[in-house]
Structure formats: structure tokens, C-alpha cells
Symmetry: C2
Subunit: 372 residues, 2 copies
Amino acid sequence: MSSDGARRRDVTVADVAKAAQVSKAQAARALGNYGAVSDDVRARVLAAAEELDYRPNELARSMNTGKSHTIGVVVGDIENPHFGLATRGISDTAKKSGFNVILINTDENTAAEVDAVRVLLDKRVDGLIVAPASSVETQHLQRVHDSGRPLVLLDRSAEGLAVETVAVDMAGISYESTRYLIEAGHRRIAFISTLRTDVPYSEGATLDSSQISDRLDGMQRAFRDAGLPAPGDLVRLNAGDAESIRNITREVLLQPDPATAVVASDGLIALSVVETIQELGLKIPDDVSFLMYDDFAWTRLTTPPLTVIAQPVYDMGAAAAKALIRQIEGRPPRAARPEFSAKLILRGSVGVAPAAAMGSASAKGSLEVQAL
Amino acid sequence: MSSDGARRRDVTVADVAKAAQVSKAQAARALGNYGAVSDDVRARVLAAAEELDYRPNELARSMNTGKSHTIGVVVGDIENPHFGLATRGISDTAKKSGFNVILINTDENTAAEVDAVRVLLDKRVDGLIVAPASSVETQHLQRVHDSGRPLVLLDRSAEGLAVETVAVDMAGISYESTRYLIEAGHRRIAFISTLRTDVPYSEGATLDSSQISDRLDGMQRAFRDAGLPAPGDLVRLNAGDAESIRNITREVLLQPDPATAVVASDGLIALSVVETIQELGLKIPDDVSFLMYDDFAWTRLTTPPLTVIAQPVYDMGAAAAKALIRQIEGRPPRAARPEFSAKLILRGSVGVAPAAAMGSASAKGSLEVQAL
DNA sequence: CCTAAGATTGAGACCGGACTCACATCGATT
DNA sequence: AATCGATGTGAGTCCGGTCTCAATCTTAGG
């Protein structure tokens, strides 16, 4: 309990003005630090404000400046460290420029996303950073853009939406890593993703996610360039919870013409896949090779450590925030936005494909491993 | 570009009223769904709103209702999956009750926390959930409480602050797990935490974090009950970045009277500790036993899988949000708040202490391991 | 047919700041 | 000493809603 009781009404400029014996306008000027105010008045007002423990009502302030100094961030799943890190990048950057972050989780559900965007707009955020759940259903984002509210997309792009987008060149890294797997003798490469789709995957089908579809494009191109048929039957989407990932993993590894390598689309999937592989008593990389997107610290602790595709997630979050703030402040967008690129980090989870190993006398066990 | 151009001023109730040919008051009533409105007027207003694509300005609304339907969440580090999960629990629960979440990261820095709280208050959030960086420097939280703004603490309590707190019984689980280690023959148990302190740890010193100090109390009590001296010299605080954790780990393991078991205070620390142990060529659990707080999925993937102290983080986040919302809505706090309790999950990283192993002929390798 | 309770409705105050505008004040200019 | 641009200052409006209050309309009861 402070000296003079608790939970009384908030102190307003008017109160301060009265205490300082000046007009509301003058008090507001002194407090808001604008306009012309004599030293005498300023001192009195500031003293009164201090005395009364005055705190400006940002809501009121926002209402007539039109700026809320708040940006809205809409992601699929904060629980996923990928977004955790990205969010950290965003919020660190935002804070540096005096912006706050309202975070909304969509569970990768477009309806929830539409809602989130609406709520954020209603709250008059100064701008939005969205990792769209769908690259196809984007009317709500289109509307945001049309309304003139700054918008930056993260991780995935939206079809036909000319909006600044911070993402890595997925097709490129996917091509590169697939080639790496192909060179290790793998022909049967499974790709497992949580992406929800109605129809089972078939080559050429348009997917809801630019990110996944770019990855698949990269894989296909790698196979094509190698003169090999892409194993479309091993592309498994709709991997939802741990149980379904487990089932899918068993399927692709135990079926007649099984996968010799598995690519996990994100860290959450990777956990279940690796766990299932261990359960099946299979050894990585002797029996199955494994590759995953995102380089989390724990991937160095497994035996063997996992070969991963590292994405500069924090930096991307930071870049998205920077780009957004630039838009908010009306500065022109960066001429050449930096393309973020992912890196294939070779550790120990990719080995020579079992069948190929028989053919080549030299290769055995894991491929050359790059330190760290 | 929508049919009628872009980026025009926002549509307001006044606009809708004009279009519907009714007074502003009536339009507001129809839109806000309060007061008495005839069916005819309601229909016209709703139609006009639809036509004009009217969206209420939540800022204006908040300003005179006094409610922002927003809660502020202040955590030390969203990047830490512990908080990621907790945040998820909070935001899921909040959303269900129509609340949004403004998230601020403090980097476990009290000054940043003070600032965060101020900003949130200025934004007139309806309530706050804070995981206090310090259990001692809590004047800012005290002020929040005094002002009557709902406040719930998460994870750690604040000294002398009678505020609803959602946390696990740390002393209890720490006691239990220490006893477990002691029974396995460990006498030299190291405890590594990021907690920043000015003075090096000494038994009895008051710490800045209720969480850590409870854990240490539990450890000490376990040693005392076992009639053994607590290895206070192995309590290592100030473990900041990966590098410093690495150094500390080496120290406690390589010094003359080394630790035979290491307890990592959180998942981030655990990563570096385990990595360092592996680097040193030591085997878990044969050479060193390892125990960590928080049960992350990856702890099941290492060899051996790690023995952990699982905390119901998501549920705690959800409970904190529920408690806060209850306060916001003026309902009485739950009579008996559920005590959350952590669970020791035995996997394979704790074994018989090397010295003790020599003594007992039977024990060798890891202790009995509980499935999952 | 008249009257009063109850339903509708519009004018305008209000929330807490920012900002416009007209009106001082004041030292400097000539 | 009269004039002028540069401050200072206070009254009052505005932002976009909510909400009070008095006026007007219905409609059922007498």
C-alpha cells in the first residue's frame, strides 16, 4: 500500500495541469515534449507529474496520433523453436525501435489466421508480420495490403501478393541437399511434412505452402538433373501429431521398396522421426540416413549428430521487423533485400545408401563429416 | 486493389450512421449490440456496416470501456522452449476468453522488466503475467499490485508480494531428485544455473531467484537428511553463454575433487553441458551422471536418453492465464490453487557414482530405468 | 379516447491525450 | 517609441467509440 491509498482513478494530464497551475494544453506540451513551453512551466509540470506519478495513457495517445507503436506478429506455432527464435529476432529488433509486439498463434490454421489479422487490425497495430499458414488462401492478407497497412511476410510467400517477404531460397537448398543425398547413393528419399492437404500428394499438384512446394521442386529438379525418377510416393504430408508422424515413418521405412533416407521438414517432425527410427532398432546412418530442416542445438547431441539444413531464423525475424519498421516509418524499402540462404551442415546422419554401399567397395558408414 | 480504391480513411460509426440514415448513437448501439434498437434500424445499420466494411476501432473502444482485452506477458526468454510452451499455454487460454497477448522479452534483466511492465501498463493491458527476473527487486511489481491491476506471477515468486503465483514446488522436487542421486552414491553433485549474482554462492546467502534458491534448499535438505555435507562449492551460478557453461562444466568435472553428477538448471544449459561432457570424452552415465530441469522431447533422443525433471509448463501457462482472467473479470480467486508438481522422469543419464560403484559389486552402469 | 409504462431515438458529454488557433508577451529592429 | 517575428499560453476541437438523458413513439390498460 503506497502512502495515499490504492486503485484510485488514473492520473491524467488535466490533473497534472491543475496541480502545476497551468492549462491542460501547456501540461500536455510539457509532458509530450512538443510545442513551446517555458522552462518555468515545464519544471512545474514535470514536478507535478512526478509527484502524482503521472503515466500517459498510450491508448489515448495512439488514438489521435494514429500510431500505436505496436506490431502484430502472426505465427503458426510459437512452441516450435523455429518461431521462438524468429519471434525473438522480431521482438529484439522491434524493441530497439520502440515498438512492442502482439503475438498471435494460429496453429497453422487459416481461419484462425484470418481472425488474428482482423483482431490486430482492429487494435490498430502499425504493421503486421505474418508467417502465412497458406500461400494460396491469402485474401485477408491482400486486404491488409490494400488498406495500406505495412505488411511483411515471413518464411513463406503468398501467391500473387506483392508484399515484402523474408524467406530463404528453399528450392536452392533443397536442390543442394537432395543432390548430396543422391550422390551418397540414395534414390528412395522420403520427405515428411506437417502441411495439411486434402488430396494426397502427386507431382505437379499445387500445394498450399510455398515453402514446402519450393522444397519439393528443388528435390524434383535434383532428381531430374541426375536423370533419376523422383520418388513422389515418398512425399508424405499431413503429418500431424507425434503418433501420425510415427506411423508415417514406419510406413516409409518398412514398406517393400523402403526409403533409405528421410528428410524431416522441421524440428518437431524430426524428433518423432528419429525416435521412431531408434524404436525400430535401425541405425543412423548405417540403416537409414536422416536430414532435417532447422539446426537446433540438440541435433549435435544425438548419436550420431544430425546433418541439418540451417536457416538464419533469428536474423530473418530481425530482418522482417526491420523491413516492417522501415515501411511504417515511410522509408523506402531496401533496394536489394538480402536473400537469406540456408546452409547444409554435414554432421553424421547421412551415410551411403545401403544398396549403393554394396556396389562401392570404398564407402562405408557415414560420409565425410564437416566439423561443427 | 479492391473495387473502390485503396487506403482511404477508416470507416467510423459516424460514416455507417450516415449511410444508414440514423443517428450516431443508434448506429453505435446496433453495432456494439447494446441498448435498445429496433429491428429496422439494426438491419439498416448492419447492412451499411457490411457495405462500407466497417471495423470498430478497438483503441477508441478500449479508451472508454477501460478494458483492452489484452494481457501483457513478460518473460525472460521466449527463445527458451520452456517459455515457448508456457506462452503457448497462456495464449491458447487467453484466446479462448477473447484476450490477446502482448509479449515482452526481458533477457532476464530486471531493468528491462521494469520497463516492460511500465510499457504494458501505459498500454492499459487488463492484466499482467510476469515471470520475474528477480525475486528480490520487485518494487515495480508491487506497484502494479497496489494500483489494482490484476497480476499473476509465473514460475518464480516475489519476496513479500502477496500475488497469485503459478509455480511448481521446486524445493520438493529438488529434494526428491537429490535424494535419488545421493542414493545412487553421488556425493559430489554440481548444480549449474544462469542466475546472475554479484557474490559467489555460499550456503545461506539469499539469492535473487526464488526458483533457484528453492532448488538449492531442497538439495541442501536432502544432503542434511542423509547426514552428508552439501557440496556448496559445486553450485555454479552466472553460467551465461555457451562458452561460460562449457568452462564451468570443465571445471567441475576436471577439478581435484570432481563432481560425479551434474544437474542443469534448464534446457539451454543442459545442451552445453552435455556437449561439453561428450567433448571431454566422458560417458554418461558411467563417468558422469546427468540430470536436468525440463523435459524436452530431444532429451529422449540422446544416448543415453536423459533423466529429467518434467514440469507441466503448458498447463502452468494456461493456469496463470486462467487465474489472471478470473481476476480481470472480478471473480474471486480459486479457493485452493492447484499446486503444480514436477516429476522426476528416470531415463538413462543417472548411474551409480564411480566411487560408489567400486564399493558395491552389484551396481554397474545406469540405474533402473523407467520406460518413457 | 385518454394515459402511462416501455421502447426508440438523437443530441451531446466524455474518455485522455494531441493539436489548431487566436491572443498575449517580449526582446530586437529601425 | 512603434513594429515585428518568435515564443508562450489557454480555450476548445478532434480522434472514434460508449453512454447518459431527455424527447418522442408505441401500445396496452382503463
